[in-house]
Structures are given as structure tokens and as C-alpha cells.
Amino acid sequence: MHRLRYLVGSVTLVAAVIGAWWIVSMLRNLDNLPGLLLQIEFRDVRGLRAGGDVRYRGVTVGTVRSIAIASDGGKAVAQVLLDPTGAAQACVNSAFWIVTPRFGGITGGATGLDTLVRDAYVTFQTPAERGSALVAGSLIAGREKPPPAADPETLEDIEHGDLLMSVLVPENHGLRPGSAVIFRGMQCGDVRAVDLAPDGRYVEVKLRIARKHRQTVTDKSQFWVARPTVTGALFTGFSIADVSALLSPYVSYYAEPGQGVIVQDGWRVAASSSRPNIEPAAVPQDALKQAPATAPPATDDLVMVRITYAAIERDTLSADDPVHGEGTGTLFLDRAGRAVVVTARSLVDGAYWVDDGFAGDPEIEDEQIKVLLGNGTVLRAGRVWVDPNGADLAALVLENAPHDLGGTPPKRLHFAGAIAAPPASLAIRRAGPDGAELPPVALGADVVVTLDEALGAAVTAAEQVIGIYGRKAPHGTAPTVIALELLPTDLRPN
């Protein structure tokens, strides 16, 4: 025990000496660590401290090693060490600046507010046209404020279908990348860039109009740079237009409804730098049509829906196979008010009818079930029940179904007991590819309806659904009628 205590103590002392040596050597060799050591000159380091971060796109990629006054006293020099990740992003034309709280005036807004409660840090931006890589020890002139080109970094990405166009104005009144593009007081896009024409005769403002609003821009649209304007006279009174542009100017446009044609990408239009004397057209009368106060009355007929099924069958030895199926389902509301679609299991369960070729269970993934209603609405559906005895019958529940969705009346669904009509009166009701119901087909000995045509279709007798049209066997092609009475009670209407 005595020796063990001495051994532990000796090891501790040795470890402490090694630890001290390691810390000292690390501090001495900080400049030699993997990465890129740079010196950046600033007129004012404005709160930057040794140990502060160097960030690129908000990610810490280096550390401020020291701050000193240049030998001539004219600049402050921050020595920063970029780690390999940061060094890979920096190049000779990268712009370095110090992020501190800045207020760019009424139009410029405030930036760097996070450094109110955090240390100031150095950040940099590298243009798309990268220059050559920086070498260790380079002395770089830092920027005293963020470069204008930094702003697009905060813009939303352009999405496919957005309208990209340019508005040419005689004078820019504070527009900057990110400024809003307003139509009828609603933001429909944003300014992407503001550039002076090469010959200096106008300012080109590049806009993005969101895809859903691009039809509002026509060749008749009038654009202007919105800024507060005072109109009127001493005796008539004054009015101020576009007061909202006081803090942040924006681009506004207007087009009379129904005038002009929709423009293409790259459209260039001249605009004034002041508001034109126009008044937006009044709200059209047809827009005043009141929405129905209550849900539409429930129809007395069957409600047939079109079902689309898609999945992937994973194969170990070969490429994965897509699984696809389409067919019909019968929609009704169960006792809990849920929108239930009853259909053939072989339509909505790939594992039920897909054969993997090795007499094993297929591995089905990424199942998607979509239900197309008669009015064109597409809803997702989840399979909530399949017949436990292997019959080709399944029930789906629609997700996010409208609360006013109507279903097949309960009296048209026959779940048990004798069928009033003789079998000769059987008919098939099904939905077409567009969701609309196809004409009924009488099911008789001389009428052959294939499963491809009517899988999951409702089989009716005496105007009542008694079952669905499904497969006789899981992997078979022979059709049969699956009785609706197999459906469990809790999925039936009251």
C-alpha cells in the first residue's frame, strides 16, 4: 500500500510535468498547427479579442491568435489561424471583415446583433470566381464593413418556376438585395441584385417573382420604386403614399386584371423611380360570392374514389422493383366519423400479391397510397385494416380529410344478412383514372370484367354495396366478390 501510494504520487507528478510541457509546447506551437496563419489589417478592430472566432458561413473555422498595432501605427493587425476547413475556403479575393453590431441607417437595417451578447468575430466571404489560394503568413487588407455582396448570402434560394426579370430605374432609392417586391401590398418576390449599368445611364434591379405569383406580371405591368411621397396642396390637404417604404424601400408593380400577357424569364421593363398615378382596380364582384355556410348536402349515391398505390420491392440479388397499382375504392364515414375507403387488399398491399420469385415474402418499402376524389382532390391514405383470414379486402383511412367530405350513405352499404335482390342483378361501380365514376357495368355470365379494369370496385345488388371486386387467391388473377360483411364493426358506419 505504501509503495502503491508512492507509485501513484510519482505517476501524478510525472503526468503533471508532461501535461505542463504539453500545454507549453501547444501554446508555443499554436502558430505551427495545421491550418493557415494569416495577418489581417484593419483600421479598427472594434472589440475583437484574441481567442475570438473566425467564421465562414456561420461555421467556426479558425481562431484569432493575437491582435497588435502595426509597426507604423496606422493599422491594427489581427493574426488569425484558419483550420484546414477554413483554409480551403479562403483565397486571395476573399473579403474579411469584423462582425460587430452595425446600424446601416434607416434603409440599411441592423447587422451583427448577435455580437451584442457574443464576442466580435472575423468572418469572410469568398466569391464564386475563386482566386488563388492564400499562403501562410499572408498580410490581407480587411474590410471595415461587410461587402455589399455579402447580402445575397441571406437571400432565399431561387426555386424552379420563379420569374426572373429586371426592372430598369433611373435612380436607386435605397434598394438592396433582399428588398421586397410588392403587388397589391403583398410580397410576391424580392430584389436579387442592384447594379449600375456599365454606361451609368440607369440602374438595373434584378427581381425574383415567386412561381405562384408570376402570372400577376404581364407586359402591361407598371413597376416603380416605392418610397414615401407626399401629394396634395395646402388647401386640399396632403396625403402620403407608400409610408411603409420609409424604413425599407421596395419595388412595387401593378397590372390591371386581364390586361397584357404573362412575361417570360429575362423580361426587362423600364420603371420610374416614383409612384405612377394609378389606383388599383376595385375588388371584382365575382370575388364577393359567399362561400357555402354549411357543408354540401350529402349525396344519396355511392361515393367511388380512385386509388393509386406505389411502393418499392427490395431485391437482394437484383435491382429493386417498383410496385404500382390503380383501382377503385368505396368511400364512407365510419362510426367515428373517419373517412374510410374499402377496397381490395391486393390493390393497396404489395406484400399481399407481389411474388418475389423465391416463394418468400416480398420486402416492400416506401409504400404510398393516394386517393383521388371525384372533385380532383388528392389525399393520402393509410392502410388501417386487412382481412386477417387472407381475403382480398382492406380498409384505408384518409389523412386530413375535409370536414365536409361526404361518403356513401350507410343505407347503401350491406354488411350482413340476406341480399334482397337475386344475384343476377349484380353490378360493378368503379372510378375512372380522373376520379370520376365510370358507368356501372352489370355483372353477368356473359359480361367479363377483368381485375385490371375493376380491382376494388364496388359490387352492388339492389342498389346496395354487398362487396368489392377482388382476387380469389392472393397471387391469382381470377376475380371474385369479397363480401363487405368481413369488415370489422368499428370500421362500419352506425
Partner: protein, 496 residues
């Protein structure tokens, strides 16, 4: 040839608060050389006090006994500066004063070295005392063997006057007789030697002595009787004459002695700084460094880690200014907080043991034995203590500071995900070589003062085990106070 011992109107009195106890007065007596004398008298009559005066073992931190007349040993006066007589006198104290931390042979070798004699004589002296093959550790010796070793060690300086205080106490009759015969043999081997044995055991020395020195407590005088003299009765000291001494004067004298003792400790620490035994200094430094290292390192890691953890976790700015927090915490931890607490932990861990060791040595007359051997206690005890603590405290503090820094790095990583590079840059941003120098200076100075405190309190008068315990407590408290004072003063002086 000069007499072995000569009293000329000699008087001896203890100074007590408010009183002065007279033990001897008007003693005039001459003992011829080469006599083997028994010294008898009632218990508490002052035999041991006279022996300590003869041996020069007067407690310097208490009012010294008042000596009157003349006392001459081996031709050298013992009153006043008695340094010349010290080399000629040796004493075997009642509880031997063997240095338990040394082996039996090393005890004898130390005495030989102190007497400037060859250490090769040690086996012969041990064999002469009947210890041919002694155990390795002195603590393993039996009572009889301890007496024999004490005799061997006393003979190492070849004294002309050998004083023995109850050498047969605690032994059975046979063992007592053997010790008595051993003393007689040792006496006979040197024709210049005079031996005086304080004893109540006449039977053990029957036929071995030439005379009996009798202290009469009634008359407070000494008389030399024939070898067959026996003390009548139980031998209990009777009443003493006392001469009142003002209590205030006694208190003032005690205070001045304490102050001079502190000053003496400081002066001794410088005068005796060159190591008497380099090996002992190195062993002490190693022990003081190694034993508390893990304890202090763990304590430092806990302090450093918790300081960083709470600084970052309880940051009111919710993660803001973390590098500033790192820098501030790093500076205060490295330069002030952790060194101070490491000094506390080091003091608590080492001072108790060191003070207890010194107190026990004082209590068991080991320090008196050192003085008897001619070894300055400062050489043997203070110098290793000073060197050990001056070396060990900075080293152990360094371990604590390093552990605190690494724990802080882990805490910074765990709480805020700060990288090692970022931590090192910010944590040590304002720590420089001056801080390290100040920390080492504070630690070394603390170690020096703690060593002085420990030595001074440990080697003070000890009449009971309770006084040893009080000395240990006082050493810890005053040691920590000194550490705090040094750190606060130097920190304020350097940084304020």
C-alpha cells in the same frame, strides 16, 4: 587530574509562574574521576533536573532554571557558556530518545559522525552493548534492547562523564542486572570515564558502584555516601521552599523567549540552509512532493473544472462572450485561485504529519538525544523540512494548476463544445511567464514559511500527548494562514 564533577556552593531552582521552586542550594561536593556512582533521592526531588543541567538539555523556550554558585564537569564550568564541557558529557535519558526513523546501526553511526569518529566503529559498539544482530527497525526493539542501543549510542562519543537516568526502569530483575553490568563494563573500558546513574533499583547495581550520591530534599543538598547506602522509605519529595516571583515578570519572560525562539528559528533556517545530509533533504523533498501530488492534482482538477463549468453554464449572456469568460477564468485559476487552494491542500496534507513527527520526537526526547549527540536539531530537522517544502510546494502546485487547466478544457468542451485550440488560445491569452514566476514564488515562499511554522511549533516544549495534538492543530491553522497571507500579499503587490 581534575575532578569529574565539582559543586561549589551550587544552587538550582525552577522558575514557575508566581513562585520559584528551589531544588538545590549551597551544595559543595567533589566527585573524583573514574567513579561509578549511583544517584538516588526521592521522586521529584530534582535528580533528573540536575541531570538535564549537567547534560545541557535546558529548554530554551521557557524560563531557564536559576543556577547559583559553580558547577564544574571534567574541569569545564557548566554555568554560562558550557560549550566546552558538552563534548565531554553524554547522557542516557529515561526514555532513551532513540531515533525511530533510523535503524539501530544508523542511530549509532549518527552519534559517531556527530563526534567526528568513524562510522566503522558502529558494529563494535553495538556488539559491545550486546546487539550483534539487531532488527532492521528501531521500533522493533524490545525494552532491554532499546536500553542497550541507548548505551551503545552514548558510548559513541567516548564521554568522560556518562549520565544515565533510570536505565533499568521497566525491566525485570535479570534484564536490569544485565544493563547494570553493561554500564559497568563500558565504564571500566575507559579509565577517564565517570558514570553517574540515577536509579531506584539498588539491587541491579549491587556491588558495581563506588559510591552513592544522595539528594536530600529536606536540606536541598547533595552528599556522597558509601556503596552500601540505601534510601529509607518510599522516597517521595517533601515540601520545597519557594521564593515568590511576580507572575507578570514570568509572563514577560515567556513572551520574550517565544519571540526570540521564533527569531532563532528564522536565523537557524538561513544559517543551517546548507544540507547537513543531502540524502535526507532529497528524501524529504521527494516525500513531500509525491505524497500529496495526487490529492492536490485531483483537488485542482475539481476546482478548475467546476470553475469553468459554472462560468460557462451559468453565463447570464446565454453563451455570449465565451472567450472572455475563458480568458478571465484561465487567468484567475492559473495565477491566483488554484495556486492558493493547492497551497491549502498541500499544507493540510503535509503539515499535520510533519508537526506530529516533530512533536513526538520532542515528547520522546529524540530531539534532546540529538542535542546530546552534538547534532543540531536545525541541521537534522529544520533544513530538510525547509528544502523539502520549498521544492515540493511549487512542484505540487504546478501539478494542481496543470490538472485544473486540463479539467477546464474538458469542461469547456463538454458545456460549449469549445475546441482544444480555442480553449488554449483563450484560456492562456493573458497568462504569461510572469504569472508562472509569481505562482512559483508564492508557492516557494509559502513552503518556506510553512516549514518554519511547522518546525517551531513541533519542537516547542511537550509535556503530554495533548500538547503534541495542540501543536499539530496550530501548525495547520498557522500554516494555512501563512499561505493565505503570502498569496494575498504577493498577488496584491504584483497585480493590484
Amino acid at each position: 587530574m581534575s575532578p569529574a564533577l565539582e559543586f561549589r556552593n551550587f544552587g538550582l531552582a525552577h522558575r514557575r509562574p508566581g513562585a520559584e521552586e528551589v531544588l538545590l542550594e549551597g551544595v559543595t561536593l567533589t566527585l573524583v574521576p573514574h567513579g561509578f556512582y549511583l544517584f538516588v533521592g526521592a521522586s521529584g526531588s530534582g535528580k533528573s533536573s540536575l541531570l538535564r543541567v549537567l547534560a545541557g538539555l535546558v529548554e530554551t523556550r521557557e524560563p531557564a532554571p536559576r543556577l547559583t554558585g559553580e558547577l564544574i564537569a571534567c574541569g569545564e564550568p557548566l554555568t554560562g557558556d558550557a560549550a566546552a564541557a558538552r563534548d565531554k558529557v553524554a547522557a542516557i535519558l529515561q526514555d532513551e530518545g532513540l531515533l525511530d526513523e533510523l535503524s539501530p546501526r544508523a542511530n549509532v553511526e549518527l552519534a559517531l559522525r556527530a563526534a567526528n569518529r568513524s562510522v566503522l566503529l558502529a558494529p563494535g559498539l553495538l556488539a559491545q552493548a550486546g546487539l550483534v544482530d539487531p532488527p532492521e527497525r528501531t521500533a522493533q526493539l524490545s525494552g532491554g534492547m532499546r536500553k542497550r542501543l541507548a548505551v551503545a549510542r552514548a558510548l559513541a562519543s567516548a564521554p568522560q562523564l556518562l549520565l544515565c537516568d533510570e536505565p533499568t526502569a521497566g525491566l525485570d530483575a535479570a534484564a536490569a542486572r544485565k544493563i547494570a553490568e553493561l554500564l559497568r563494563q563500558a565504564h571500566d573500558q575507559d579509565p577517564d570515564r565517570t558514570t553517574i546513574v540515577i536509579t531506584h533499583d539498588h539491587a541491579a547495581f549491587a556491588g558495581l558502584c563506588e559510591g552513592v550520591l544522595v539528594l536530600d530534599p529536606m536540606t536541598r543538598t547533595l552528599a556522597l555516601q558509601g556503596p552500601e547506602f540505601r534510601v529509607a522509605g518510599a522516597g517521595v519529595a517533601s515540601t520545597r521552599n519557594s521564593t515568590p516571583e511576580p507572575a507578570g515578570l514570568h509572563w514577560l519572560r515567556s513572551c520574550l523567549l517565544q519571540a526570540s525562539a521564533i527569531l532563532e528559528t528564522v536565523v537557524e533556517s538561513w544559517r543551517r540552509l546548507p544540507p547537513f545530509e543531502l540524502g535526507q533533504v532529497l528524501r524529504t523533498a521527494a516525500r513531500f512532493s509525491i505524497e500529496p501530488a495526487l490529492f492536490v492534482a485531483i483537488a485542482g482538477a475539481v476546482i478548475g473544472g467546476l470553475a469553468m463549468f459554472f462560468a460557462l453554464r451559468n453565463n447570464p449572456l446565454q453563451g455570449g462572450f465565451e472567450s472572455a469568460l475563458l480568458t478571465g477564468t484561465g487567468k484567475v485559476s492559473t495565477a491566483v485561485l488554484v495556486p492558493l487552494l493547492c497551497g491549502f491542500f498541500f499544507t493540510a496534507r503535509t503539515v499535520a504529519g510533519a508537526a506530529a513527527r516533530l512533536g513526538t520526537m520532542k515528547r520522546t526526547n529524540q530531539i534532546a538525544a540529538l542535542q546530546m549527540m552534538g547534532v543540531r536539531p536545525a541541521d537534522y530537522l529544520l533544513t530538510p523540512l525547509v528544502w523539502g517544502m520549498v521544492i515540493a510546494m511549487p512542484l505540487v502546485t504546478l501539478a494542481g494548476v496543470v490538472a485544473a487547466a486540463l479539467a477546464a478544457a474538458l469542461a469547456a468542451k463538454a458545456v460549449s463544445g469549445i475546441t482544444m485550440l480555442g480553449w488554449a488560445t483563450a484560456y492562456f491569452a493573458t497568462v504569461d511567464a510572469r504569472d508562472v514566476l509569481v505562482v512559483l514564488t508564492k508557492s516557494a515562499l509559502s513552503g518556506y514559511l510553512v516549514a518554519l511554522c511547522c518546525y517551531h511549533l513541533g519542537t516547542g516544549p511537550k509535556r503530554s500527548g495533548a500538547e503534541v495534538g495542540q501543536a499539530v492543530n496550530a501548525a495547520i491553522v498557522f500554516g494555512m494562514a501563512l499561505v493565505l497571507a503570502v498569496h494575498a500579499t504577493l498577488t496584491f503587490a504584483v497585480y493590484a
